[in-house]
């Protein structure tokens, strides 16, 4: 009598367990899909200063909104539900709407209870919320030869993060182009340049670093940098051959006739 009952209860236990496990596997896969899908941060959504890399950020951010509350410029927002936005409830800002004003005391980082915004960020100039890229030279007024310069003027790290690089304006033939040029080493990604661009659609945009930048291979060495570091040529006994520099006798355009060697082979007759 005991045996059939035992097997029946065992059978029941096993089917119940299998049912629960199966249901949870399906629900869990669905949840995992949603959770992973949320990791695709849109390119125009920037994280607050000090935010960990997106993968780490989503393991740390509890979406409490304390950074948003302590942002004095109402730059930061919490993401609403929706398929295309940043992960639900996480903080972000859109540079073209309200850029980051780069507070010296970084209140958003101070407010974060979990470390999702890295407390080791003490100097706002070290923040890397993204990198500005002049995405559209064809519409940038400076590339048309005008002196708009607005992005350069508003940059909190003027002359470091954005410089104006003068070059010859080939179109007019006798003007200069002052090209706004971003130097990623100094750009915090605050977005003031993108916000201030006078065009209807900004020609300069802050992109996530992964989109804005390439990466040099680990084994690449720039000879001139290595030489400076070393204080001397890296290889002894290199012969320094004459360089073709612009100037009389060496510039075919300025003085046609070809390159004249600075030395003559003895006994060559000339």
């Amino acid at each position: 009598m005991a045996m059939p009952q035992l097997t029946q209860s065992r059978r029941r236990f096993l089917t119940d367990t299998a049912r629960m496990a199966g249901g949870c596997a399906v629900a869990g896969l669905g949840l995992a899909y949603v959770a992973r899908d949320a990791r695709a941060l849109p390119a125009d959504a920037l994280r607050p200063p000090g935010a960990l890399a997106e993968d780490d950020f989503l393991s740390a951010c509890i979406r409490c909104g304390l950074c948003v509350r302590d942002c004095p410029f109402d730059t930061l927002m919490l993401a609403d539900l929706g398929a295309d936005g940043p992960a639900t409830g996480t903080p972000y800002f859109t540079a073209r709407d309200v850029p980051c004003e780069m507070c010296d005391d970084i209140p958003c980082v101070a407010a974060c209870p979990t470390g999702a915004l890295d407390p080791s960020l003490e100097d706002i100039d070290d923040a890397r919320m993204g990198t500005a890229v002049l995405v559209d030279q064809e519409n940038c007024l400076n590339f048309d030869g005008l002196r708009c310069d607005v992005c350069y003027r508003v940059c909190p790290s003027i002359d470091k993060a954005i410089t104006l690089e003068a070059s010859h304006d080939k179109r007019s033939g006798h003007h200069a182009i002052f090209a706004p040029t971003v130097h990623a080493d100094h750009c915090t990604g605050c977005g003031l340049c993108e916000k201030s661009c006078v065009l209807p659609e900004s020609a300069i945009k802050v992109l996530p670093v992964r989109l804005a930048r390439g990466a040099s291979a680990d084994h690449y060495r720039r000879g001139w940098e290595e030489k400076e570091k070393h204080g001397a040529p890296l290889v002894d006994g290199l012969i320094d051959l004459p360089d073709r520099l612009p100037g009389p006798g060496t510039d075919n355009l300025a003085a046609p006739g070809g390159f004249e060697p600075s030395f003559k082979i003895p006994g060559s007759g000339q």
Binding site: A32, A38, D56, S59, C61, R63, C64, R69, P113, T114
Partner: protein, 307 residues
């Protein structure tokens, strides 16, 4: 029980204790839910900042950090060790609920509770079938699944779908889309599964239920001898499985509702015309002795008293 209780739940209590007396804890709970919401809302509404943040993590009066321990646990599973502030905040919350009962969060604080209570009210009104009723242990499975998904994806997984924080955040930060979540939970509880979300699915409640196993604040069926088997308490209790052991236990057994599932909502206290139930501490084993009259006489006397 169903046909009987469906027809008449709460009428005896209303008669015996009056409108207010039979809704004391319900009104207290609604006030409490509003109170905890207003702590967060006075800032954005009136510029008076009491609690900043949301239920997932907050800072009260700029000194007291409070963090949801379940969110912190998921964060650990996802591979991030929260910094000291969050850990202290989580420990404070944990300690508080170890004291008052974990699921006090569910019935006295959670903003989804009014939604599921409303769904249940309408469910009774429309006399709908109870629908899909997975085992109570299902939510523990969901809890384990959430932790596994947090571990697997490296995200605080439940926060991508958690109706509690989504709704709370929407209310406090003025986001628009959360009504979809409210509607989904309401419809789920109304048509798919009676008391389904809070009672069978929600892993947050499951987590707080585990915390509540050793809670000091408990409901006792101290006057269980006065029970006239009207079954109203079973009808109103969101976790009716917790009642029997205390109410119908053998003489000498504990009258305390010790199950972690009990949300300390006090609905049984409100609905009982015989005042069988009362809040007390978990070590209060006192039972009001049955009167000298034998049980059948007692209930007969009750019946006569009512008529």
């Amino acid at each position: 029980m169903s046909a009987n209780t469906h027809a008449s739940v709460g009428f005896e209590a209303l008669e015996a204790k009056g409108w207010l007396g039979s809704r004391r804890y319900l009104l207290l709970r609604r006030s409490s839910q509003l109170f905890f919401l207003m702590l967060f809302l006075t800032g954005p509404l009136f510029g008076l900042w009491i609690a900043k943040g949301t239920l997932a993590g907050s800072l009260t009066l700029d000194v007291l950090p409070l963090n949801d321990p379940f969110v912190a646990l998921q964060s650990v599973f996802a591979g991030h060790w929260p910094s000291a502030v969050a850990l202290i905040g989580a420990l404070i919350v944990l300690a508080a609920y170890l004291f008052v009962g974990g699921r006090v969060y569910c019935s006295w604080v959670c903003p989804i509770n009014p939604v599921t209570d409303a769904a249940h009210w309408l469910h009774r009104r429309l006399d709908l079938p109870k629908g899909w009723q997975p085992k109570r242990s299902a939510r523990l499975w969901v809890l384990a699944t959430v932790l596994a998904v947090s571990f697997g994806t490296g995200t605080i997984a439940w926060e991508t779908v958690n109706p509690i924080t989504i709704v709370h955040r929407a209310l406090v930060f003025g986001l628009g889309t959360a009504w979809i979540i409210v509607a989904a939970v309401f419809l789920f509880d109304l048509f798919v599964s009676r008391r389904g979300w809070c009672g069978h699915v929600c892993p947050v409640g499951a987590f707080y239920g585990l915390i509540g196993k050793t809670a000091l604040l408990r409901v006792s069926a101290a006057k269980r001898s006065a029970c006239d088997n009207c079954m109203d308490c079973y009808a109103v209790c969101p976790e009716m499985q917790v009642i029997s052991l205390a109410l119908k236990g053998a003489p000498g057994s504990s009258p305390i509702i010790l199950a972690g599932d009990c949300t300390n909502c006090g609905a049984c206290i409100d609905v009982c015309a015989q005042n069988v139930f009362a809040f007390t501490h978990r070590f209060d084993e006192s039972v009001v002795e049955p009167p000298l009259k034998s049980a059948p006489e007692q209930s007969a006397a009750n019946m006569m008293h009512k008529e």
